[in-house]
Symmetry: C2
Subunit: 492 residues, 2 copies
């Protein structure tokens, strides 16, 4: 960007404060941190290089986990014959309203319209049926990274876009026990990834029947709390039973030569996770990136004029090389801009650590280090620490890890503050306006809907961990279901 | 795969010999090496894990080269409003017959149909216009990894499929010199990648006007020779001039505050490259993978029964760990199958090095090593070499590099044998039936068409390197164009 354009787009305006209007704040951050832009077709998104670099880091680290748990990547077609979706009744009912349909190809009207995949259970079911014939072929453990399309009437960048990027895992197993073990394993992988990479502590649990994936018997979810107290579903893992196996004839000969239906699973995480990172960590100054997803973990800003600047720039490059040797992602900002402009810009872009290097620092053999959050002075400005380059280089790994832990702890404290166990409607309604309400519920979909109508809150999940508890439904007074409390919240 | 299914699919039948019917051989290899399967919608392809692992290796190594030359990845939408394509006249003319069109979304007919991207110049042009305002914004160097759709009437796995995976680079520059330097730089990257990673020596050159990308002023191409003597276009780099800048209003203020159109480039390589690898190196036994694209560079086959097998398997795993520490991709084949079955299977799958380890080898402290091609005995079987595990581990890197070089040299010798400088029609027609013909040509599209009609050969390129030469057109006798010979061949 040119200097002129930058001052139009960024320094000229300040961000909408988060507490004033989260939605406007979110839009400002996405645009001004150059994460994404609207695409020309309604509901589509252009992921700009800075946003895409976050996605690449996410992909790499998630993919490593999939491979470590025995999965192989593959690719399945974008176009699915419309009739395929109809083979699983609940599935088509869930997805039909969101489909994009190709009716013309190669200049002709097609005999059968093609659906642009909203998810690939159907086409993968067809392939599994071809590939599987004996119990020796099982399990099949596959993942695919691709783009899917679900028509969105009210699109929001990263959170709900007509097209989005994701991974979809699909596996087939000989029996329920093996398929359920897989469903839980990938649920655990998502939870661990969210905490250890995205620095978002998740509420782990199972969806209530009304909130399950279309065609699943059980859906497990991780739900993060955003800075406005709302929930964001960040990854789901489904046990599909034999529903898709029956619809697509995925059968195998078992050890006794009897024909059996396979049990399948699917699980997905998407570019939505970038929305989660923005909303779980951000503040009035902009993005706050967890270091394991930050394209630049450290930005070095050389300061000075003329010869002095040449000296600090050379030293900054030397320092950057040393940091890179430690495996740190470093950027040296040599733009023709004021230090103040650069500091604001990298704060907006959420860079974890900023190193300043002025002529007097260079003379004294030190650098100044500031951290994006968690170390502010009384005026709310980042404290600057004087360090030797050796101290910086030797300590940078531990410092980034500590910063990651700080983000997790901060998010946990925030969530604890915004969560409550509630047993009456008035408290419930007040609680879901600011955060998560742990309440007993009867489990009836109609009763869930009544709650949603009044409060806009939905059951996010029945937590996997937590004390056994029964009693009466907070809404209708009937006996509670699930044997434990349900987490309700407004959600993205 | 189960034993039963494997014997149905593989050991039961032998491959169609390549010289008998290349097309049938190709289909057999793609299916039986488990590279890909037909998708349910016509012309689509499922890339199976073994094929996708090759793609991932290709992606990673090509992406590293893009980043090393200063490019950043981004993502642009799948759907493009139909009107966008019409803004560049040649572009829409070239792509209109191949488009897939979405007419319905979210249960409604759309006001304006959406095209599924066949390539992204148009939508990226629109975004570049938004992002660029000053000369300081230039150059913009972007790449995108995605899927594109071009309707195919005669699909062939990897070579021509309705949907394929690729990368498309898009850059914008202040002037022609800078844009042409980029066009050539990426042309060089493709050529270097093809030789050093895919082990395919390429003929480098420029397309004749009739063969240019729709909307380009200049198109550079790398053309590989396949085992049947046909050419395969493997990567192209285009200088688009100001065509797209004018169509999408990509303008900037230059240093003197004058408004200028940017000069743009685009360049792409696709899953077609996997087809090139199959056809450039394969033989009657199946795939021959270059080591830098081989999912398994070494397969270790432990041999024996009962306790003896337990011993050789443990030693095989130990050996595999040591090889992995050297950065080698190793697989230990512990399937319940005969050694002979396994040897054939890994030959079919093109694994560069095979290590056999039997009980007597274990006792003697040695392993047996065989190489997929280039080291056969008089009966055409791979020679087995006796090595100590230390010799194997210490020498494996050099051995894989030598094997890579051998594949390049073999392909170069083959190409030299199947290429000729020709100056009369009879020789030309005979030459393009077996390989590449270097001939003088007038440069007239009508004359190119006459040659194609008679011989099925097309001008592949005007080589970038080569002696200056003028004379008369081999077809029509008019004065030759380009100042050098043109390479003609039949092509995939």
């Amino acid at each position: 960007m040119s200097a002129a354009k930058q001052s139009d787009d960024r320094s000229g305006r300040s961000l909408t404060p988060m507490h004033e209007d989260v939605s406007a704040w979110y839009g400002d951050v996405v645009a001004r941190a150059e994460l994404a832009d609207r695409g020309p077709a309604k509901g589509t998104m252009v992921i700009r290089p800075y946003g895409y670099a976050i996605w690449e880091l996410l992909q790499r680290q998630l993919d490593d986990r999939f491979k470590a748990t025995g999965h192989q990547n593959a690719y399945f077609p974008l176009f699915i014959p419309e009739s395929y979706l109809r083979r699983e009744a609940e599935h088509v009912e869930g997805f039909a309203p969101e489909l994009a349909v190709v009716t013309h190809g190669g200049g002709k009207e097609l005999d059968e319209p093609l659906v642009v995949r909203p998810t690939s259970e159907t086409v993968i079911g067809e392939m599994f049926a071809k590939w599987i014939s004996s119990y020796r072929d099982l399990p099949i453990l596959i993942n695919a990274w691709n783009n899917v399309v679900r028509w969105e009437l009210r699109p929001r960048m990263f959170l709900r876009t007509t097209e989005f990027l994701w991974q979809e895992g699909h596996t087939a197993h000989a029996d329920e026990a093996d398929a359920m073990a897989e469903t839980r394993r990938m649920f655990d992988v998502y939870d661990e990834f969210a905490r250890n990479v995205a620095a978002i502590p998740m509420v782990r649990g199972e969806k209530t029947p009304g909130e399950r994936f279309a065609g699943a018997l059980r859906t497990f979810t991780i739900e993060g709390m955003m800075r406005d107290g709302k929930a964001l579903q960040s990854g789901t893992s489904h046990y599909l039973g034999t529903n898709f196996a029956r619809a697509f004839d995925i059968t195998f000969q078992d050890e006794h030569n009897a024909l059996q239906h396979a049990h399948t699973t699917s699980w997905g995480m998407s570019t939505r996770m970038i929305g989660a990172v923005i909303l779980a960590h951000g503040d009035d100054r902009g993005l706050v990136l967890p270091p394991r997803l930050a394209p630049h973990q450290v930005v070095v800003v050389p300061i000075g004029r003329g010869d002095a600047l040449a000296g600090t720039t050379a030293e900054a490059e030397r320092l950057a090389r040393r940091l890179r040797e430690r495996g740190v992602r470093v950027h040296v900002d040599t733009r023709d801009q004021s230090p103040g402009f650069k500091f604001n810009d990298w704060e907006l872009k959420g860079v974890p650590l900023r190193v300043e290097l002025g002529p007097r620092d260079l003379e004294a053999g030190v650098v100044m280090l500031a951290q994006r959050v968690g170390d502010d002075d009384e005026d709310g400005r980042a404290r600057k620490h004087r360090l030797t380059p050796d101290e910086l280089v030797d300590g940078v790994g531990a410092r980034l890890d500590a910063y990651h832990d700080l983000l997790v702890a901060r998010a946990e404290a925030f969530r604890a503050d915004r969560s409550a166990t509630v047993d009456d409607r008035t408290t419930f309604d007040a609680q879901v306006a600011v955060g998560f309400a742990h309440a007993l519920h009867c489990g009836e979909p109609a009763c869930e809907e009544a709650i949603q109508e009044r409060t806009r809150a939905t059951p996010r999940c029945v937590p996997t961990e937590g004390p056994d508890e029964t009693g009466v439904c907070i809404e209708c007074g009937r006996p509670s279901a699930y044997g434990r409390r349900v987490v309700f919240a407004r959600a993205y």
